[in-house]
């Protein structure tokens, strides 16, 4: 009696450590359970995977486009400069040093008034008069969105006669950047909701169809996680396969964007393709598993 009592107490209360071979066999059994569940889901598998692939294609396409737009914006932003025209008595080097200390200023280039005059005389026929042009500074800013604040900081300097920059272009680049970034975030949210909803409903159907079997497993002492993990893996596998199929249309989008970059001679974003693929697999698998988890929590009483 004492031996039976000890056996029960030990088995119920304590975690009995298992050797790696036993753990491996459990992993194998769980994998087989997952594959059996998928086999039982039948033709519905194709519908689920196709739908997830379509959703992830939209996300992948937009994310890849966003990266390209960012790269275009960055290149255009790089060519944006503020032209600062100094008063006649101002020392260009002193002013340039002062402007360099302003936040977000990346580079200041001095264009001496003699150079400007020579350039002008080369372009148009000017009578031989005294050089009326001031020294000019070309100020380059780190990011297009900072150009306005740098402009305002320079404007207050007393030695500045006049200033100019492509204000409208800078604003448009900034707006385009914001629109694309916001759209990408919105699409991620939509992808999350749709994927989780689809997987949630599918796993609910699987649970319903296996209700009796799960009940028997539960009564026979099959561990809760042994019942749950195959269902979570099923959801994750749908996400994985959806992402894998989405790579086909994504490749087409990728090629189109590469052609656009080549046409405008603007280099494509570095590692963009890899980033998009990783993001797609990450979202597919995590939302797939998340959808299953929510369904299990709601519909599986173990």
């Amino acid at each position: 009696m004492s031996s039976n009592k000890q056996t029960i107490k030990k088995q119920v209360k304590k975690h009995i450590p298992k050797d790696w071979l036993t753990e491996l066999r459990i992993v194998y059994r769980i994998t087989m359970e997952t594959l059996n569940d998928i086999k039982r889901t039948g033709i519905v598998n194709i519908i689920i995977i196709t739908t997830i692939a379509a959703i992830l294609t939209i996300f992948g396409g937009l994310f890849r486009t966003a990266l390209s737009v960012n790269s275009f914006a960055h290149e255009l932003g790089n060519v944006l400069e503020i032209s600062v025209y100094l008063k006649q008595n101002a020392d260009a080097q002193t002013v340039a040093n002062r402007i360099k200390k302003i936040e977000h200023v990346q580079k200041v280039r001095i264009i001496p008034k003699e150079n400007s005059w020579q350039d002008l005389k080369r372009e148009i026929d000017i009578p031989d008069i005294e050089n009326p042009l001031p020294d000019t500074l070309h100020v380059k800013v780190d990011k297009p969105q900072n150009i306005n604040s740098v402009f305002n900081n320079i404007k207050v300097l007393s030695v500045v006669s006049d200033m100019s920059y492509a204000q409208e272009l800078a604003k448009k680049i900034q707006i385009l950047n914001n629109v694309v970034n916001t759209s990408t975030v919105l699409v991620v949210i939509i992808v999350a909701i749709l994927t989780i909803t689809i997987i949630n409903n599918t796993i609910q159907l699987v649970i319903q169809s296996r209700k009796d079997e799960i009940e028997i497993m539960r009564l026979m002492g099959v561990s809760n996680w042994y019942i749950k993990i195959p269902l979570i893996m099923q959801g994750a596998l749908y996400g994985f396969l959806g992402a894998a199929f989405a790579l086909i249309p994504l490749n087409v989008v990728q090629n189109m964007l590469n052609n656009v970059h080549r046409f405008f001679m603007i280099p494509g974003p570095i590692f963009a393709g890899n980033m998009v693929v990783i993001a797609m697999f990450f979202l597919g698998i995590s939302f797939g598993a998340g959808g299953s988890f929510l369904s299990i929590k709601k519909h599986l009483q173990v």
Partner: protein, 226 residues
Amino acid sequence: MIQLRSITKKYKNNYALRNVNLDILSGEFVFVVGASGAGKSTLMKLLYKEETPSSGTVMIGGINIANLPSDKVPNLRRCMGIVFQDYKLLQNQSVYDNVAYVIRTLGISTKEINARVLGALKVVGLSDKIKAKPTELSGGEQQRVSIARAIVNGPPLLIADEPTGNLDPKNSMEVMQILDQINQRGITVIVSTHDSAMVDYFRKRVITLENGEVVRDIQAGTYEQQ
């Protein structure tokens, strides 16, 4: 092995069990008898933690399972074999797979699973039916598969809730004899039944429930003993 102290189970305003106190020793064979609604099934469900008592303690192997956290319940159930009136077999799986199902989840080697399953099927006399599906078996055979599944993990305790409820007298006798043989191997067997013929034939300890209360507890008793 099992101690029930002041067990009460209440569903809304109805008492399924009232102040039940019991001691069942290791290696005993116990019949729990009573009319429908007497509380037999509730008592059985308390033993495998399908139900939790409203008050009182259920000690099995030194553990109060009334307080057992839900994540430990599968561990408890693997320490006991459970047999149901409706067999609860997986209809799409063979006899072999039904018996092997739970021990496969424990990561046991195929060789050991094979040995255990064939051993359990030998005990219940179904060694020649390992490939059959439950739908191809008689009720008695299905119940024997269910008993094989219950003993395959070598539990010290076997709980059978109305195991002969769906069987004819001949099959009932076969099933009871198998349970008796299992008990003779040292396994504690608790059988709830209203099959008076079986109870009278086997002359084991009989616990009688009426309206949720233990009204008789007799060693080597019969169904209607006064």
